[in-house]
């Protein structure tokens, strides 16, 4: 069975972006928690585009839409449906 977008994202953050970071709640604010900063944001964007084969435009991205794993997963899933 394919892993959910949230699971893949969570693992990427804990294993590649911030190795050793404790388990992440889907609704944790990644910017508030210091998981994402401006450079990490670009890394996550690149990872998402490569891993899930979607193209996210700036119109999809904002502090309110890219702040939690659940929000990023929703964006990816919405892009997947559009294609």
């Amino acid at each position: 069975m394919d892993e959910s977008v949230s699971t893949v994202l969570s693992r990427y953050i804990r294993e590649d972006l911030l190795p050793g970071f404790p388990a992440l709640d889907e609704n944790l604010s990644l910017f508030e928690a210091g998981v994402l900063d401006s450079l990490a944001l670009i890394k996550v964007l690149l990872f998402v585009e490569r891993r899930f084969g979607v193209r996210l435009g700036m119109k999809d991205l904002s502090l309110a839409s890219f702040d939690t794993i659940a929000q990023i997963a929703a964006l990816v899933e919405a892009q997947g449906k559009d294609r």
Partner: protein, 499 residues
């Protein structure tokens, strides 16, 4: 009665945490707070906070009260959907307008006069150099943070006027921060506060160590730094030492003040945020911003950098064929430059601070570029000993980068800067410097760095408070010994108050 007043005046200004007047008044304020019934405590603390502020200049308490009333009203009314944008605009205009008027108008007018002088126009700006109300930059940012959080729905507006006024004017953090978020401080002020043994131990440590950093370290270093910067022809050795001493003085002055603020607040059952986390242990320049004046850098990152980054990204995508990634990368550079400039210019309305922002950003980008290149070029073939040597060398480079940034803001005039550079160019003869006054500063430095090293290694700022009683006693005795040696020179300077 007059004698009593004169004796009180001799104890120094009440609004400075290291003055005897403050250190005597604090236990009285704390005692009164805990003796009162719970429902009266916030009102009492508000009165104490305004008395504290009034002791500096009664005129500006009206400004504090008036702007607090505006933000209380704007926050409350924001619950109605139709007027939210208008109320946000109103609050921002008043808050930032006050900041501009009192802090920056004189500087901008002088800049304009300088630009107009070649064509024979020289407007007088002396009337525009107003007294900057103490704490204006801090409480303005705290109120703006509250309004933005209300607007974005991150916090519910505060309905109790006394609680809100106390949130703005709580005296331990009124003049120099930490700049607290509404979601962190308001619940503490509105909830049930208590004072237990752990809080008392924490308060004792923060107050004592804060005094040590301020009185022993910062004030002693300040005497030397001031003397060198005022000298008509300082030697190279003096200038070099003064540069390091100034960097350490800034850190000890501000972090000492913050510790005193946090210790004072702890006695009222309130935990203020840590504003420093051992900044001189930063392994990378960017890390420094997560360790120095943390509450300001967090505020600017949340309210300026990220919104600007997304806004710029949206504007830039599609231009010159930029993808979302390219737009974010370019947006990040521009937003970073703007953020650094705001961060440094917040500290003071002078040319030094205006230039410091872009310099900071340029230096950090250069460091990241060079360090990245070296890491990639040497990956896999460096021997183990060289890797081990590279780490302290890297920290040494970062430390000197930071010293070069601090030094930028110290000269008060161009001729002074010229004298410093001339001194450096004249060579370094350390033997010519007297050493008799340095012994206890040297011992203090050893104690200070050893203590900070243990804090860094254990990742625990308050490790001393977890010691047993008999281990704590010698630690505090050491601090008092150094304070006595410093001659209880309760200085009236606090560098960050002027910001």
């Amino acid at each position: 009665m007059n004698d009593l007043y004169a004796a009180w005046q001799n104890l120094g200004p009440l609004y400075l945490f290291s003055s005897p007047a403050y250190l005597l008044a604090l236990p009285l304020a704390v005692g009164g707070h805990w003796l009162l019934p719970r429902r009266l405590r916030n009102g009492y603390l508000l009165l104490v906070s305004y008395a504290f502020y009034l002791s500096w200049d009664p005129r500006f308490a009206a400004l504090l009260l008036g702007s607090t009333a505006v933000d209380y009203y704007c926050g409350l009314e924001m619950e109605e959907a139709g007027r939210r944008r208008f109320l946000l605009g109103l609050s921002l205009t008043i808050n930032l307008g006050c900041l501009l008027l009192f802090k920056y108008l004189g500087f901008f007018c002088e800049g304009l006069a300088l630009l107009l002088s070649p064509i024979g126009l020289a407007p007088s700006c002396s009337a525009l150099h107003l007294i900057v109300p103490l704490g204006l930059s801090y409480y303005t940012f705290q109120k703006v943070g509250y309004i933005l959080d209300c607007y974005q729905g991150r916090v519910k507006p505060c309905r109790q006027p006394v609680d809100f006024a106390l949130f703005v004017s709580f005296f331990p953090q009124l003049l120099c921060g930490p700049i607290e978020r509404a979601g962190t401080l308001l619940p503490q002020l509105q909830g049930l506060r208590g004072l237990d043994g752990a809080a008392c131990s924490r308060a004792l440590y923060l107050l004592t160590y804060g005094l040590f950093k301020k009185v022993v370290m910062a004030d002693t270093l300040a005497d030397f730094v001031d003397r060198v910067f005022a000298a008509p022809a300082p030697s190279g050795a003096e200038v070099l030492l003064a540069c390091y001493a100034w960097s350490l003085q800034m850190y000890c002055d501000f972090s000492g003040y913050t510790d005193l603020a946090r210790g004072s607040a702890a006695l009222f059952g309130v935990q203020l945020s840590a504003n420093f986390n051992l900044p001189f242990f930063s392994a990378r320049p960017r890390e420094f911003f997560r360790r120095w004046h943390i509450t300001l850098s967090t505020w600017i990152t949340r309210h300026v950098h990220y919104p600007l980054l997304f806004w710029l990204g949206g504007r830039l995508q599609g231009r010159w064929g930029l993808s979302a990634r390219g737009a974010l990368l370019l947006g990040n550079v521009l937003a970073g430059l703007a953020t650094m400039t705001l961060f440094s210019f917040w500290h003071g309305a002078s040319f030094n601070f205006l230039v410091m922002g872009p310099y900071l950003y340029g230096m950090f980008a250069l460091y990241d570029g060079v360090a990245g290149l070296l890491t990639r070029a040497t990956a896999g073939w460096l021997p183990r000993w060289a890797e081990l040597l590279a780490r302290p060398l890297n920290r040494l480079v970062v430390l000197h980068l930071l010293v070069s940034i601090f030094v930028m803001v110290r000269p008060t005039s161009f001729p002074q800067l010229q004298r410093m550079v001339a001194g450096l160019a004249g060579g370094f003869d350390f033997r010519a410097m007297g050493t008799s006054e340095w012994w206890y500063v040297g011992l203090g430095l050893i104690l200070f760095f050893t203590h900070e090293f243990f804090q860094y290694r254990g990742g625990d700022e308050l490790y001393v408070t977890r010691w047993g009683f008999y281990r704590q006693v010698p630690f505090y005795c050491c601090l008092f010994f150094f304070a006595l040696q410093a001659g209880a020179s309760f200085s009236q300077r606090f560098i960050y108050i002027q910001f």
